[in-house]
């Protein structure tokens, strides 16, 4: 029940296309859903996060869509660029509890 399931494990998208990464959770107590981005040789860094009181959050080309009833959330990267090639982790947490990370998605954007 503490797991966050992330798919796909890897993704290849053409430059200019839309990249979509999906995550699902079981614990309805989760109330914070961040996405982290990790470039090779670097540690992960917070990209964007959402609380369940909204269904969508957009920051530039990055959008989180949140479906509370389905216990699912997804990251959409519009107009994907080669510089977006990285590993993406979805995550979830509840208040002061530790963050639970998904297993990650390796995204490669073809030039």
């Amino acid at each position: 029940q503490q797991q966050v399931k992330q798919s796909p494990q890897s993704l290849i998208v053409q430059k200019g296309g839309i990249s979509i990464i999906n995550c699902a959770y079981e614990n309805t107590a989760f109330d914070y859903f961040p996405w982290y981005q990790q470039f090779p040789g670097k540690g992960p860094a917070l990209l964007i996060a959402i609380r369940p009181d909204v269904s969508e959050k957009k920051e530039g080309r990055f959008t989180i869509s949140f479906n509370k009833s389905a216990k699912q959330f997804s990251l959409h990267i519009m107009d994907s660029q080669p510089g977006d090639s990285a590993t993406y982790f979805c995550a979830a947490s509840h208040r002061d509890d530790k963050i639970i990370f998904g297993k990650g998605t390796r995204l490669h954007i073809l030039p």
Binding site: P34, G43, A45, R95, D96, K98
Partner: protein
């Protein structure tokens, strides 16, 4: 610019050696975390600490211990390294509320145990 630094980027040790991985943060954060990252397994929490001298087990604490003598420093110790501990180790820190606050990660230490 906020910073989490780790003592080594690459480390090679032999089976049975005692290994120390050091992490220092300059953000005056209360919370610090150690994760290991393996392909296909994501980030798995080893230990975390909410305060000096305090430690909590994460999901995979077996074979590891930690030390937090100062607020800014969190050490991961492999008492007797084994080959299955070959991995990327990531340290992170966050502010007052561990779940809601952004975690800042160091660059990682790639440990190889021969």
């Amino acid at each position: 610019d906020v910073k989490v630094t780790q003592s080594s980027r690459y480390l090679v040790k032999r089976t049975g050696e005692k290994v120390f991985l050091e992490c220092v943060q300059d953000m005056d954060h209360e919370n610090m975390f150690w994760y290991r990252q393996d392909p296909g397994l994501g980030l798995r929490l080893i230990y975390f600490s909410y305060d000096v001298k305090m430690k909590e087990k994460g999901d995979i604490p077996e074979g590891y211990s930690v030390s937090r003598e100062k607020k800014e420093r969190f050490s991961l110790i492999l008492e007797s390294a084994s080959t299955n501990q070959t991995s990327m180790y990531l340290c992170a820190s966050s502010g007052t509320s561990g779940g809601y606050n952004e975690q800042f990660f160091g660059p990682g230490t790639r440990l190889t145990v021969l």
